[in-house]
Amino acid sequence: MATEGGHGSQTSGEYIQHHLQNLQICKLDNGEWAWNQCAGNPMALNVDSMFWSLLLGFIFIFLFGRAAKKASPEKPSKFQALIEIVVDFIDSSVRDTFHGKSRLIAPLALTIFVWVFFMNLMDLIPVDWIPELSKMLGTVTGYDQLYYMKVVPTTDVNITFGMSISVFILIIFYSIKSKGLGGFVAELTLHPIAPSFKGAGIIAAPIIIAFNFILESVALLAKPLSLSLRLFGNMFAGELIFILIALLGVWQLPLHFGWAVFHILIVTLQAFIFMMLTVVYLTLASEEH
């Protein structure tokens, strides 16, 4: 599909690069808005990632909101039963891990799981369909910038970081909420080596505190970093392999099928891991010592 068809003049390298390029918009130095000239610009916006993630988020809101609105205990529809299975699954997972009372954590877990699952699921759409469609649309309407279209939001590190940073803020919020600001600072500075404030130990205390702080900060920052990079890495690698398979010509058919079947597992698993780790981190943050 890749070497034949509409872009026969493309080399494999160009083909891959095209598939990994986001549709970006940014404000140039001269004050003009420009498409796809934003490499390295920190204020650039990946329009395709935002569009697809928002669309999928709204699909989640729409599907689950409709089920919630129409939910009837007496005569549940099959759709409601499906939604209930998902909700019940998340609810029991959260209950097993998080023992406190929180109105936020379970809905947060549900949102993360379903949203990430939907975003990952875009990976199973054949890699050329939507980009080619977008390219055609761009040619027809004159919006040439639609030449670039990356459809799997979770293969964009910005998207995964955006989510994990929100989770990170929640971790800090829950830590301060359950331990107080002092408790949070103490957790960062008085572990794992407890400094002594009596006698000669007071001289060593600042060094120990600084050491603890560096160690604990790394541990704290590693949480959102690993959360987002795990998801991004898995989905990016999966997408890249789909692109490489698409380059193979006829042989892509069995390979693509096999990888897609395997990817169903990855898609679900990564969504579950992201959700579960979020719950675990928040549980750790809100645990009293």
Binding site: K69, P73, T111
Partner: protein
């Protein structure tokens, strides 16, 4: 994979989605699930109760059936015994009747016989007298005498 403002957009989107989910999706779904769970539990309990009731009713009906069977058997036995009794009674009655009739017939026959015998006796004696008269009348004739006696004998 350069980082850019998409992070901020995604974070805002996530906060809004989570807030919406927390406010409008999770509570009604949870309520529906919990309500149905209690309903299912109630239904199961009611089913269990019904089963116990059915078991009890089965035991009861079996008991009633057994009683009825027993009663029927006893009625049948009684009826059989009664029938035997009646037959035996009938036999006895017949026997008695027969004997009565027989003895009656016997006595009748005896009477008749006696009567006939008496008659015969009378006739014989008359004949004997008549024969004796005749013999007396013709005493002389031995031959006659014998003849008469023979005749008499023959007559008897």
């Amino acid at each position: 994979m350069d980082l850019n403002a998409t992070i901020i957009g995604q974070s805002i989107a996530m906060i809004v989605f989570v807030w919406f989910c927390m406010k409008y999706i999770w509570p009604p779904l949870m309520d529906a699930i919990e309500e149905r769970q209690t309903q299912i539990a109630d239904g199961l309990a009611a089913g269990e109760e019904g089963k116990i009731k059915l078991d009890n009713a089965n035991v009861e009906s079996k008991k009633i059936l057994d009683d009825a069977r027993k009663q029927a058997t006893s009625i049948l036995d009684q009826a059989n015994a009664r029938a035997n009794e009646i037959v035996a009674d009938g036999k006895q009655d017949g026997q008695t009747e027969r004997e009565q009739q027989l003895s009656l017939a016997k006595s009748d026959i005896e009477q008749e016989t006696n009567k006939a015998r008496d008659e015969l006796r009378g006739q014989v004696s008359e004949l004997a007298i008549a024969s004796a008269e005749k013999i007396l009348n013709r005493e002389i004739n031995k031959q006659d005498h014998a003849d008469i006696l023979d005749a008499l004998v023959k007559k008897i």
